[in-house]
Amino acid sequence: MPRPFEARVNRTERLLDLIASLLNAGRPVAFEEIRAWFPDDYGEPGDESARRKFERDKADLLQLGIPLRYVEPVDDLGEEGPGGYVIDREQFYLPEMRLQPEENAVLYLAGLSLLDQPSFPYREALEMALRKMELRTSGPRPVAEAALLGGRVLIDHAAGDSGDVAERLRGLEDALARRKRVTFRYEARYSGIEAERVVEPYGLFCRQGHWALVGHSRERDAVRVFLVHRMRQVTVNAASPSTADFEVPSGFRVRDYADVPAWRYDLGEPVEVVLEVRDDFAWLAEAELRSEGVPGEGGWRRFTVEATNPEALLAWTLGLGAKARIVGPAELRSRMKAQLSAMLSRAEAS
C-alpha cells in the first residue's frame, strides 16, 4: 500500500521511511515491493531514473553505517527464498556499554577536549558520537562525571592554526579517506622556496596545535611532512572520484612522523654530531636527544646523534647557553663559535 500523503516534503523523510520500513519488515523485501510503497519516489516499473534515485538513497544509508544488504533469492546452501533488501536489526542498534563511572569520565574528558579544538576535522561526528554514548551508558550522568574529574584534569588542544586551516583540513581528510592525490603550493620551512607539490596523502597529525600532512611527494619521490597552515591553493584530484589514486604502503604509521625531532628532519645527508651537556642538566637533554649519553670529562655528559638537519641541533645548543657545547664535527663547532661571536659583538654594541 502506498504512502497516503501528498508528494513528500524532503529527502530526509524518505530515508527515514525506508529505514523504518525495512527494519520492521522482518524479511527481505524485493525492489518491486519497495517501489510499490513509495511510488512517488521510485516511479513506475522500467523508470530508470527512479531506480537511480533508490540507488543513491541506498548509498546514503550505507554511508551512515546502516547495515542494509541485499539477500540473493538462492542462498549459499542452494535453498530458495525470497530475495530482496534487509536491514539487520542486530547490527542496527548501538549496543549498550556498561562503562564504570571513571571510564565514562575519561571518555568525556578525551572527547570534550577535542570538541574544543576548532580545526579537528571530525568535530561534528565527535559531538554526535558523544551524544549517542550518553544515551547508551547506564549509571550516573557522564557529563556530571566529567565535570567531577575535569576540575582536576584539563586538556586543551588549543589550536595554533587559524580558521581557514579547518576548512583545508576537511578537504585533506576527505582526500585521505578516498585516497585521492592533492596539489598545493608550499613554502619550504627551512629554505623558504615556494613550489607546487603533488602529494599522495597518507596521514594527518597535530603537533603543538599545528596540523601537518604526511604523504608521498612526487617531486621528492619520498614521504614528506607538510604544515597545513603553509599550504596554498589546495586542490584534490577530481578525476574518477570513486577510484583511489594510490595505496598507502602497509606498515605506514603517521606517529612515526609526528614524533620526529627537528634535527632528524630529512634535509640532507646524515651527519654524526657530538655534543656535551652539563651533568646536572643531562636529564633534560635525554628527552630531546632520545639518548642517555655517556659520561664525559669534568662534569659533562656526551651525546652522539645522527642528524639530517644539524641546524636544529645548533639552535638547541644555543638555547642552552653555557650548559651545552658542540664537540664535533669541526665545521659545526666553528659555525657555533662564529654565531656566538657575532651575537656577542652585536649585543655589546651600543
Binding site: M1, R3, L15, L16, D17, A20, S21, N24, D60, L64, G65, Y93, L94, L99, E103, V106, L107, L109, A110, G111, S113, F120, Y122, R123, E124, A125, M128, A129, R131, K132, M133, L135, G151, R152, V153, D156, E187, G192, L204, F205, C206, R253, V254, R255, A258, A287, A315, W316, L318, G319, G321, R333, Q339, L340, S341, A342, M343, L344, A347, E348
Partner: protein
C-alpha cells in the same frame, strides 16, 4: 545540514525522548544540539514518517504537550541510537587514543582500557585506520609517566608533592613543595597547577621539567573556587616589561607564524620586529638564543646584557684549549 546529517539528528531526538519520556522541550533541544525553534520543526517532520501500510499506527507518534513536554507513543523501532558512523568511530578513537598515549598516568591507562572495551563497537577497522593515519600530539609518554604516578596520587589524595624543578624563565633547578590542584594538557605538553610553598602562590609547572617527584604525608585543601582554566600556560603572568626583537627576513615568516603571543611589526627590508611582553628577562633570552644571529634584541638593555652574558659564557667553551 545535509539530508543524512538531518536524519541522524532526527533519530537522536527520537532516542532521547524514548529514554526521557516527558522531558521538557528545552532539555530535549539541548541534548540533541539544536535550538527550541528547530526542535519544534523537527517533531512534526518525524510524525510524517513510518512504515507501510502507513496507517496512523504505522507512523512515528511524537508530540509536545501543553506544558512543553515531549512524548513519544510509537517509535517504529527507531527509538534507540544507531551504531556509530565511520566518522563517529574515527573521532572517538582519535580522542581516546590521544589521551591513552599521553602518558597521563591513571587517566591514560583508563582511556586505553575504554578503547579496548569499545573496540568491537568502534570497529577494528576504525581503530586500525586511526593508528595508521591520525595523530593528535606526538606520544612521548616516557617523559612524563613516572612523575604522573606521583602527581596523580597527590591529586586524588590531596597530598603535597615534593619536586625538583627546572625553571627555564629563571634558569634555576630548585627543590620545592607543591599542592597539586590540577593537571593540564596544553598544546601537547602536560603541566601541573598548584600552590607552590616556595613562592607562596599558585604556579604552573611543566611535567617534563620535573626532575624528581615524591609524595609527602602533608595534606592540603584545594580552594573551592579554584578553576584550572584560569591558569593555562602561555599567559605572561605579571608581565611588566616589553622586549623588542628584530628578526632577519629569512626567518621572519617562521617567527611570525609560530611566535608566542606578541605584536608583529613588519619592516621595509622584509625583517620583522616582535614586541613581546614578559615577566622574566631569562625567559626572553632563552627564547631568542636559538635563533642565533638571525635575531637581535633591540630593547630593553637588561635583556641585551643577558644575551651578551650568555654568549660570552658559551663562547668560553670554544676558546682554544677549553675542549679536549
Amino acid at each position: 545540514m545535509d539530508a543524512t546529517g538531518r536524519l541522524e539528528r532526527l533519530l537522536l531526538l527520537l532516542s532521547y525522548v524514548r529514554q526521557h519520556p516527558g522531558a521538557h522541550l528545552d532539555d530535549v533541544a539541548r541534548a540533541v544540539g539544536v535550538n527550541a525553534r528547530e526542535l519544534k520543526r523537527m517533531i512534526p517532520e518525524l510524525s510524517l514518517c513510518g512504515k507501510p501500510p502507513f496507517s496512523p499506527d504505522d507512523l512515528i507518534d511524537i508530540f509536545i504537550d501543553r506544558d512543553g513536554r515531549v512524548h513519544v507513543e510509537y517509535d517504529q523501532s527507531l527509538g534507540r541510537p544507531m551504531r556509530f558512523t565511520r566518522p563517529e568511530s574515527l573521532a572517538l578513537t582519535v580522542a581516546l587514543r590521544t589521551l591513552a598515549g599521553s602518558g597521563a598516568g591513571p587517566w591514560a591507562e583508563a582511556a586505553g582500557a575504554v578503547l579496548e572495551r569499545m573496540r568491537a563497537v568502534l570497529g577494528a577497522e576504525a581503530v586500525a585506520e586511526v593508528e595508521q593515519r591520525f595523530a593528535v600530539e606526538a606520544e612521548r609518554p616516557e617523559a612524563v609517566q613516572d612523575k604522573f604516578r606521583v602527581l596523580s596520587e597527590g591529586l586524588s589524595q590531596s597530598r603535597t608533592v615534593e619536586v625538583v624543578y627546572y625553571t627555564a624563565s629563571r634558569d634555576e633547578l630548585l627543590r620545592r613543595q607543591v599542592d597539586p590542584y590540577a593537571v593540564v594538557q596544553f598544546l601537547g605538553s602536560w603541566y601541573v597547577v598548584g600552590h607552590d610553598h616556595l613562592r607562596g602562590e599558585v604556579r604552573i609547572f611543566k611535567v617534563e621539567r620535573i626532575r624528581e617527584a615524591t609524595l609527602t604525608d602533608a595534606r592540603f585543601a584545594r580552594p573551592a573556587d579554584f578553576d584550572a582554566r584560569h591558569h593555562l600556560p602561555g599567559r605572561a603572568l605579571g608581565a611588566a616589561e616589553t622586549a623588542r626583537i628584530r628578526f632577519r627576513p629569512d626567518v621572519a615568516r617562521l617567527v611570525a607564524e609560530e611566535h608566542p603571543p606578541a605584536r608583529v611589526v613588519p619592516e621595509a627590508d622584509g625583517s620583522i620586529v616582535l614586541e613581546l611582553d614578559f615577566a622574566h628577562a631569562e625567559w626572553v633570552a632563552g627564547w631568542v638564543l636559538p635563533f642565533g644571529d638571525a635575531a637581535e634584541v633591540l630593547e630593553p638593555a637588561s635583556v641585551r646584557a643577558l644575551v651578551a652574558a650568555r654568549c660570552r659564557e658559551a663562547l668560553a667553551h670554544y676558546e682554544n684549549g677549553s675542549l679536549s
